[in-house]
Symmetry: C2
Subunit: 377 residues, 2 copies
Amino acid sequence: MATQCCSFELQSELEDARTGHLDLTHGRVPTPAFMPVGTRAAVRCVSSSDLVATGASMVLANTYHLWVRPGHELIRNAGGLHAFMRWDGPILTDSGGYQVFSMRDRLKVTEEGARIRSPEDGNYRMLTPETAIEVQEALGVDVAMAFDECLEWPADRPTTVDSTARTTRWLKRCLAARRHADRTAVFGIVQGGMFADLRRDHADELAQMDLDGYAVGGLSVGEGRENLLDMTSVATERLPRHKVRYLMGVGHPIDIVEAVCRGIDLFDCVLPSRAGRHGQAYTHAGRVNLRNARFKNSTEPIEAGCECPTCTEGYSRGYLRHLQHVGEMLGSRLITLHNLHHYQRLMADLRAAIGAGDGPALERIRARAAVASEMSR
Amino acid sequence: MATQCCSFELQSELEDARTGHLDLTHGRVPTPAFMPVGTRAAVRCVSSSDLVATGASMVLANTYHLWVRPGHELIRNAGGLHAFMRWDGPILTDSGGYQVFSMRDRLKVTEEGARIRSPEDGNYRMLTPETAIEVQEALGVDVAMAFDECLEWPADRPTTVDSTARTTRWLKRCLAARRHADRTAVFGIVQGGMFADLRRDHADELAQMDLDGYAVGGLSVGEGRENLLDMTSVATERLPRHKVRYLMGVGHPIDIVEAVCRGIDLFDCVLPSRAGRHGQAYTHAGRVNLRNARFKNSTEPIEAGCECPTCTEGYSRGYLRHLQHVGEMLGSRLITLHNLHHYQRLMADLRAAIGAGDGPALERIRARAAVASEMSR
């Protein structure tokens, strides 16, 4: 049953794309929205006030990592994750399912949950649906993700059938384990691997459960863009129109635009911050590698007319290239700020085009995002 | 001969301590002043607009490092160091003498200059008084330091005599090499090792040259606080009262207060930024190591009432400890901002006490700085 602490109001639709308002305990999120990734209660190099300056309204943190360090009890005692990281807006935590997936050589998954040998301290930990909810409620986040099994790709049909059924059983255990439904919403995750009928059936099954919100999971694991978008469509076609839809871990600017055009409202991805740390900046002429010697003498900003802190303060490509070259972490920070702003600007442009019912504008955004997603030559 | 691009106006004196205005090509610096160290055209983790927020009015960069990467011609073509690093206020560059000293196992010093095998690219480079001035003028800085020989400690008397005489000859070559005396001042450096009479003689010799400003160099090399302050006094007693005096590479808060009380006007030191990167924060109750587990559960700011960005935004010791623990560089940045602000606040307090002729206030600052310089228990 959906809870009071989460409501989604659809505002406008342009074919399958939509704008809306997601209202959560810590405020309103205009959708489509992009959540920067603050795995360990911090987006790399960037503080919460910096995030506000990039235009973010909601951030993502990671249940598994915060459970291990510093521990959810510590954060609860500090007044919750919002107080701990000084972020006043909504926070969503992924449940740990993807981290379990990424550590599959160090874990054993049973019906009970996942037993993990932590790379941080070598200890064994048992992550179950009940633990995942307990930890996320202790963090006091706005949205807790149900604990799911994220399959590796490729996976055969019998494995996918079994895994998807387990994800549903785990979801029910998550819902039963809730103690703070007054403030923490729980989103279910549609799985089903790369089998369209399994995805469809799972979306139908979850739709009938009247959840707070719906995620599409198990994608962006190496399946390629066509699979990613096909599986997204299959799910959104069956999910309730008046509930928020979140595509986990996606993606490049063009993936985001394509998924918005398939009815997705919410995104998270490490790309803008990871690319920034590696000296890559998103521009409307493509992604540029600022470690490249060809920028040595450039006095141009990353992008003319860009309103991010880095471009408005006038830092040049040549200066950023120098900082990368000598290993000054200020360079990573300045490029990360630009990239996060680029993503937020993309979302604002999408909201404006959809809100105005302006199909040609949406096409222009799609074309620009396709260019921005490729490396510039 | 002193040049037009640098003037120092004494405002008030309290015994040997003084306040004043140092007017340079890019603006006015109220003294006593502390310059944060941006070795490679960036203070670690911190942008130029961040520096403004900490209260800095002048920054230091490094001639040798910028000469190697990205090269002074590149920076000249980018419009000079101010445009390159987006810092509008005055910039001073150290001449490279100290870097030569720190690389003494890879160089050969002759009367001509220092031949250095660069650790960055393995190439041999010849740094001479003429090169040092050429590079610094190309950078377009407000103050170029004369190229000097920084002796290792301890050094015997004959070596110190020879080295000090060479520093004077190199200073004269620096002055003769100037092409932009209209915008770049040159400060001479008093050497003389730990021999009071040699220091005194050298200060007298330089005083007669009517330079733009005077630095006390070759200190903070392991000689201990007593030697440091004794050699400082010996120099300032002989330097012209109406010229600015700069103590290079110093130091702990208490060293700064003691040197101000001995007539020094200008400082630089890597301590606040280096300590920040290592998780150490300056407070009036001592330096605290925020990597320490005892701060795990702290919801207190680094220092109550502190007006730095980190404390005013409410980041707690517990959060900063977590960021250090998991290696998030945001932690280093937030502590560095606090430390730089702590130093700038110290300078503002010193200027206020001296300006008001308030000896007891100066004593209180001295007592607090002594505490701030020690590790808190």
